[in-house]
Symmetry: none
Subunit: 209 residues, 4 copies
């Protein structure tokens, strides 16, 4: 029993080790430029080993995105579960998004890039399923906050799913857009400030006047 447990644990560690190496390499090189050999070297493993844990490059990359999505989801859920006002929740969600962005902006950007049919089409059913589930969980948590706001007659009476879409889309849009702007203009660190402005607008926009 002890042995089986340890093996299981070792396996998970190895997986995590690969994911971590992949995060570093994908972060600096992007999906296309990164090579499996590089990731293997970074993980201090042989290329073949990577394939024992991940079916192919695409799936390794997606697993990485799922990890950050899961992290995001966990944090969002924590906020939603708190015993605070709807408006405070919205404010804390802002911080969650900012924190996740600051943790690893590149992977977050990849996550948003992943959100396009092109990439999604090539994933294995299991991974796609997991992505769907996590994604809808995160989204569900946001819908909950919105619904609460509508019920308490604080928020405007639009379809809550659509409103949650707007919140999420604004978040991902700001990250993508400002990231590219940052590159084009060689300016730094105004993703955070723009995210703050975005949430001010959104929070204001959701509120019944």
């Amino acid at each position: 029993m002890g042995i089986a447990e340890r093996k299981q644990r070792e396996k998970e560690l190895r997986r995590a080790q690969i994911i971590e190496a992949a995060r570093k390499v994908f972060s600096t090189k992007g999906f296309n430029t990164a090579t499996m050999e590089e990731i293997a070297a970074q993980a201090e493993l042989s290329p073949g080993t990577l394939y024992l844990y991940f079916k192919n490059k695409e799936e390794l990359h997606t697993s990485l995105s799922i990890e950050i999505l899961e992290h995001l989801t966990r944090e969002v859920k924590k906020v939603v579960a708190k015993d605070i006002s709807v408006e405070e929740k919205l404010d804390q969600l802002k911080h969650v998004f900012i924190d996740v962005y600051e943790y690893d902006s590149m992977i977050l950007i990849n996550l948003f890039h992943l959100q396009s049919g092109e990439t999604l089409r090539n994933l294995s059913p299991e991974v796609l399923k997991q992505l769907k589930r996590t994604s809808s969980e995160a989204h569900g948590a946001i819908i909950e906050v919105i619904k609460e706001g509508i019920d308490k007659e604080i928020f405007i009476d639009e379809h809550p799913v659509a409103l949650a879409d707007v919140v999420w889309a604004t978040f991902s849009g700001v990250v993508l857009w400002v990231d590219s702007k940052r590159f084009l203009n060689n300016k730094k660190d105004f993703v955070t400030s723009t995210l703050k402005t975005a949430f001010t607008v959104i929070a204001n926009g959701l509120r019944r006047q």
Copy 2:
């Protein structure tokens, strides 16, 4: 002169022909999967010819994106120039996005994909410059509307550039996000409706209460 002009004209036509072919191929296959040979075949030209007009695949793709961006910019500017209220302008901007999305959803998504450091890093200075200029023009036009709203004390008194970023990011984020949602959930045609909701929130959020 007549000859030189005609040559110039022919050159532009050929360029347009390639860009149009690229639009079709990139649209259906995405950047990575599309091949130069396919684009050449679609344009009824040989692969070699493509390189007489575009330095490489990356730049062909970017040139295409710039075209879309220029179209977007032109439309945005038209709206901004109109003699209508700020709120009406905002409403018409929504339609600009909807129209472009409906013309070719994939290409708009490709445009957003372009907006990532990974791609931008490999462009030639001229193309990058053009991209910067066009991009800032579109953004400038939106800033103008925002400023007008702030001046007229209709909009909240935040930094206008940041507010313009939020508007742009929200609109583009909705397209990207809802497109992926559509794929994951097999639902169709609610980009338009979500864009409308987004506009409602944004318009409400910008307004001084």
Copy 3:
């Protein structure tokens, strides 16, 4: 001694277990496509264990072929030892081939595939020696029948080794050829009937007129 014997016995059982698993996998997949991992899984053993019993994949395959060949040889010898006429012996040899083919057609085909320099070149001396011995035993038994026929002035007076080669080659050739014909033309079950015709021709051809 009892312990040593049991160990020896266990070893042989394990070996047989692997050979049987290999038979199944090679049968359905062919040499190249079959993997050691599949064979290990089929034998309910780990890949490493296979290498305790067989030097490498090639030798496992050859050992399997030798088993088949040994079986064939045993059956051929039984027929030869019988107290029947030469022509009846030839007729019964036909049935030996038919039976082996019907037991597992693929494995017989694999046996013939083995008979090519490419494969033989990579075997260990011991295995090669065993293959030679078994092969020449089977052949020797057939030569015996031929010789008997020649001695009794029933068969034509050609070199008996060459005649035995013709008999063996014709029977194995029919199996291989008709098997491919079956695939190309989607017809079934005429190996048996062709083998019968082959026998008729051979028996007739061997006979002095």
Copy 4:
């Protein structure tokens, strides 16, 4: 027109050049051990070029086999068309087989190895079709001779297709079998003599007594 023709001709030459290089490499190394890189080097071309003419390694190999099968077929047909007796035709077929074997025994052996479901299953429909057609042409020519012999009441009255199968199978069986025997026993050049014996037996066996 002259240009198109020359291009066509060049293309065929290039194809032939690759086939010839492949023949050399496959002949000495066998299918598995041979690499595309080696073949490319032998053809004094780059690896990529091979893929402009052949879909993959498998198909290059099969094309080679088809070439020799086509050659064999042509020679068989020539004999069949001659204005000589059936028995002389049979005798000349023997020489055709011997000549082809002596031209390139390795490729001929590969051709017979190809005749197994395993390999056939992976070919493209076109190549498979060509293989089928050529194969049935060669077979058809032999059937013709057999039929003629039966009609003239020289040959035994068995099903001509089955008899042709026996002839063909004996031929391929002798080549395969004796080739392996040659390796096992380190003897050389008795394929030819065994083929002669085989034809003596077959010719005798076909004849009505």
